[in-house]
């Protein structure tokens, strides 16, 4: 079971580092606050428009903070040439990929939870009507984002103009996930059962599976010397 152990140790390392430094989490928290202000200014005091646009706004917030967070995914590896150490790890390196995806997923979910709370408080919106359904939708969407985001973050980590290239590559590819997540969130917030958006959830699940599979199969090629 060394594969599981290696996945776990990568996750452990990332979570431990983040808990100690809190760099990314702090930055993302303030970013989330900023987004909130931006949305307020952009949509004004028109509550109807806000409620109608809410699913889109939520996911816009998730994606933007996700971009910032994922962009830093391999930042620690660039310090002290740790990247080199990862290159020379024996055996299947896809364990590193899964560990990184798990870490990024947890980080993104945390920030999304914060954003949800901020939205509920500042825009006086009831999001807690069907928490389980919301969690399922947000989980599926975020997983898709983290799966491809981690892969692309690894690819662009050492490319010049990485800060521009990373979102340029990631966002168009993520359109299905974004559409599916927004539509499903919209339905959940309207009180509809998950079955009503079964096709969207199916799309999200398919996308997640495809992305993770490709990631696991190709990460070795990215982390090659």
């Amino acid at each position: 079971m060394t594969y599981a152990r290696r996945t776990w140790i990568v996750l452990w390392k990332d979570l431990l580092s983040e808990r100690r430094s809190k760099e990314t989490l702090n930055a993302l928290f303030f970013f989330a606050l900023l987004l909130l202000f931006l949305f307020q200014f952009a949509l004004g005091a028109d509550r109807e428009r806000l409620t109608a646009a809410l699913p889109g706004l939520l996911w816009l917030g998730f994606i933007l903070s996700g971009l910032v967070g994922l962009g830093r995914a391999f930042l620690a590896e660039r310090e002290n040439d740790c990247w080199e150490g990862l290159l020379l790890v024996p055996g299947d390196k896809s364990a590193i990929y899964l560990g990184k995806v798990a870490g990024n997923l947890i980080l993104m979910l945390l920030v999304e939870a914060i954003l949800l709370v901020l939205f509920a408080v500042f825009f006086d919106i009831d999001l807690g009507a069907h928490p389980i359904r919301l969690i399922v939708v947000i989980g599926l969407g975020t997983l898709g984002f983290a799966a491809v985001g981690t892969l692309f973050a690894a690819m662009t980590a050492h490319v010049r103009a990485r800060e521009v290239l990373f979102p340029v590559l990631l966002l168009p590819v993520q359109v299905p996930v974004l559409l599916g997540a927004v539509k499903a969130t919209e339905a959940v917030l309207l009180g509809e059962p998950l079955g009503a958006v079964g096709h969207w959830l199916g799309l999200l699940a398919a996308a997640d599976t495809i992305y993770l599979t490709v990631g696991v199969l190709t990460f070795d090629a990215i982390l090659e010397a």
Binding site: T2, R5, R6, I9, V10, W12, K13, L16, S17, R20, S21, A76, E79, N80, D81, C82, E84, G85, L86, L87, L88, V89, P90, G91, I96, A225
Partner: protein, 239 residues
């Protein structure tokens, strides 16, 4: 000569596009021997190390570690090589113990607390095993990198300017360690700029200029001044 010398490089050539970094380099390191690769900046010293560490593929020629080809049998080579490069592979927010645990688990090395503490003790970092690395000096971080190698116990060590940034005490300490490694039968190839400290442990010196090996002979009997003169003779004129 042993059938499989720990380090063997034959006719090595490496070009990046039109830029030729190494041209027909041949070199061997025997067990229990330390070879210092000396040369000016850009001579290709680090490139030789990186090819042996399987981080780069040669354009032509062969590089072998313990008989395994560095380009074709990378996994086997990696299991036999310890690399101490410019980067220390250290995560600043973790403690030495946690750093070692991470690399040990990923590398399939002994992970038990005893083994980890033992390695830290060998590099004299045991007392600070639970402090965050961010507070460490460069010398301490280098020692942590060495602890990683101690844990792995490879038969071959590749060191890229190991004395750079170390003070006198740390440098002496490193030499002591490398001496012990040699005595246990390990082979060392290290690159260096300096003639005094850098050569302390070396048994042979090889001068690399502009991608070619200009000089390769035992250090026995040569003073640091002799070495400097040889270096100036070859390095400045060569290429």
């Amino acid at each position: 000569m042993a059938a499989n010398p720990p380090i063997q490089v034959i006719g090595l050539r490496k070009a990046f596009g039109a830029h030729v970094v190494l041209d027909d380099v041949s070199l061997e390191v025997r067990p229990g021997e330390a070879v210092a690769l000396v040369g000016p900046n850009g001579a290709g010293k680090t490139t030789v190390l990186r090819i042996l560490a399987t981080l780069l593929r040669p354009s032509r020629g062969t590089a072998r570690v313990a008989g395994y080809d560095c380009a074709q049998e990378t996994e086997r080579v990696r299991a036999h090589v310890g690399l101490l490069a410019h980067g220390t592979w250290v995560y600043e927010d973790l403690t030495p113990l946690e750093n070692l645990k991470f690399w040990a688990t990923l590398g399939g090395l002994p992970r038990g607390l005893d083994a980890l503490h033992g390695a830290l003790a060998a590099v004299d970092l045991d007392r600070v095993a639970d402090e965050r690395v961010r507070t460490f000096s460069l010398g301490m971080k280098r020692r942590l990198a060495l602890a990683r190698v101690v844990l792995a116990r490879p038969p071959v060590l590749l060191l890229d300017e190991p004395h750079a940034g170390l003070d006198q005490r740390a440098g002496k300490w490193l030499d002591g360690h490398l001496g012990g490694f040699k005595a246990a039968g390990g082979a060392i190839l290290m690159t260096t700029h300096s003639f005094g400290r850098g050569l302390g442990v070396a048994d042979r010196i090889a001068i690399l200029t502009a991608g070619r090996l200009a000089f390769d002979a035992p250090l026995h009997g040569l003073t640091p001044d002799d070495v400097r003169r040889l270096y100036e003779l070859h390095a400045e004129n060569g290429g």
